[in-house]
C-alpha cells in the first residue's frame, strides 16, 4: 500500500525531509510509525498524535491506499 507521510518541526529535522511517499505493509499509523522510526531515526512515539487525511485519528485507524499521514509532535503555538 502506498501512503504519503508529511513531517513537521522536530520530526522534519530528524527525518531530514518534509515528506515522502512510500510503499508499506503497515495497516495502522502505529505500525507505520514503528517502521519509519527505525528507518528515519525518529524519536519514540510517546507524546505524538497522528492525523490521517488532515483529521486527528487514533493509532489503530485503518490506513488506506493514498492516505496522507502526519505524526504530530507536542504542539507549542502561542
Amino acid at each position: 500500500m502506498r501512503v504519503r507521510v508529511d513531517y513537521f518541526a522536530v520530526l522534519r529535522e530528524r527525518a531530514g525531509r518534509a515528506h515522502e511517499t512510500l510503499d508499506t505493509s503497515a495497516s495502522t499509523p502505529r505500525e507505520l510509525y514503528r517502521e519509519l522510526s527505525a528507518r528515519r531515526q525518529l524519536p519514540p512515539g510517546k507524546g505524538l498524535k497522528v492525523a490521517v487525511n488532515d483529521e486527528f485519528r487514533n493509532w489503530d485507524w485503518a490506513l488506506a491506499e493514498g492516505d496522507r499521514v502526519v505524526f504530530i509532535p507536542p504542539v507549542a503555538g502561542g
Binding site: 518541526a9 504542539v75 502561542g78
Partner: protein, 143 residues
C-alpha cells in the same frame, strides 16, 4: 474569511478588533501573545513558527465554535503567525465580543488555552549562543 486564520504576515490588532464590531456587544476582550526576549531564564533572540496548516485551520475553527457556544460570545476570532518573528512581534491574537464581560473574558481565555494545547503549530527558539530548540519537543514534556 474564517474566524481562525494562519498568517505569514504581521498581525494588525486594530484591523482584527474592527472585525469584531457589533452594536449589541457591550464587551470586547482581546489577547495578544508576543515574542518575549526571554523564556525560562534564557535570553531569546527570535522565534520561528511552523504549522500543519490543513489541520490547524479546521482544529482552530472548532476551538472558535466551542468558545462561541460555551460562553455565548457573539463573535470570536483568532489569527496565528507562522515564519520568522522578531522580539516584540505578535505571534497570536484572539478577540471575543459578547453582551457581557464575563463571556468575553472566558471565551478569549478558552481560545488561547485550547489553541496552545490542540492546534498543530510549533515554535523554535533561537538564542544568543547554542543551537535553536523546538519548544515542547523533548519526550519528557510530551503530553
Amino acid at each position: 474569511m474564517s474566524d481562525f486564520r494562519i498568517s505569514r504576515r504581521a498581525i494588525d490588532p486594530a484591523a482584527e478588533l474592527g472585525a469584531l464590531e457589533d452594536a449589541g456587544s457591550g464587551a470586547v476582550v482581546s489577547f495578544c501573545g508576543r515574542v518575549r526576549n526571554h523564556n525560562e531564564g534564557r535570553a531569546v533572540t527570535r522565534l520561528e513558527y511552523e504549522c500543519y496548516e490543513a489541520l490547524a485551520v479546521t482544529e482552530g475553527a472548532r476551538v472558535i465554535a466551542e468558545a462561541r457556544e460555551s460562553f455565548g460570545a457573539s463573535r470570536v476570532r483568532c489569527v496565528h503567525r507562522t515564519g520568522d518573528l522578531a522580539i516584540g512581534e505578535a505571534a497570536v491574537w484572539v478577540g471575543a465580543a459578547a453582551a457581557h464581560r464575563s463571556a468575553a473574558f472566558e471565551a478569549a481565555r478558552y481560545v488561547i488555552d485550547q489553541v496552545k494545547k490542540r492546534v498543530p503549530i510549533w515554535k523554535r527558539e533561537h538564542y544568543p549562543e547554542g543551537p535553536a530548540e523546538w519548544i515542547n519537543a523533548a519526550p519528557s514534556e510530551a503530553s
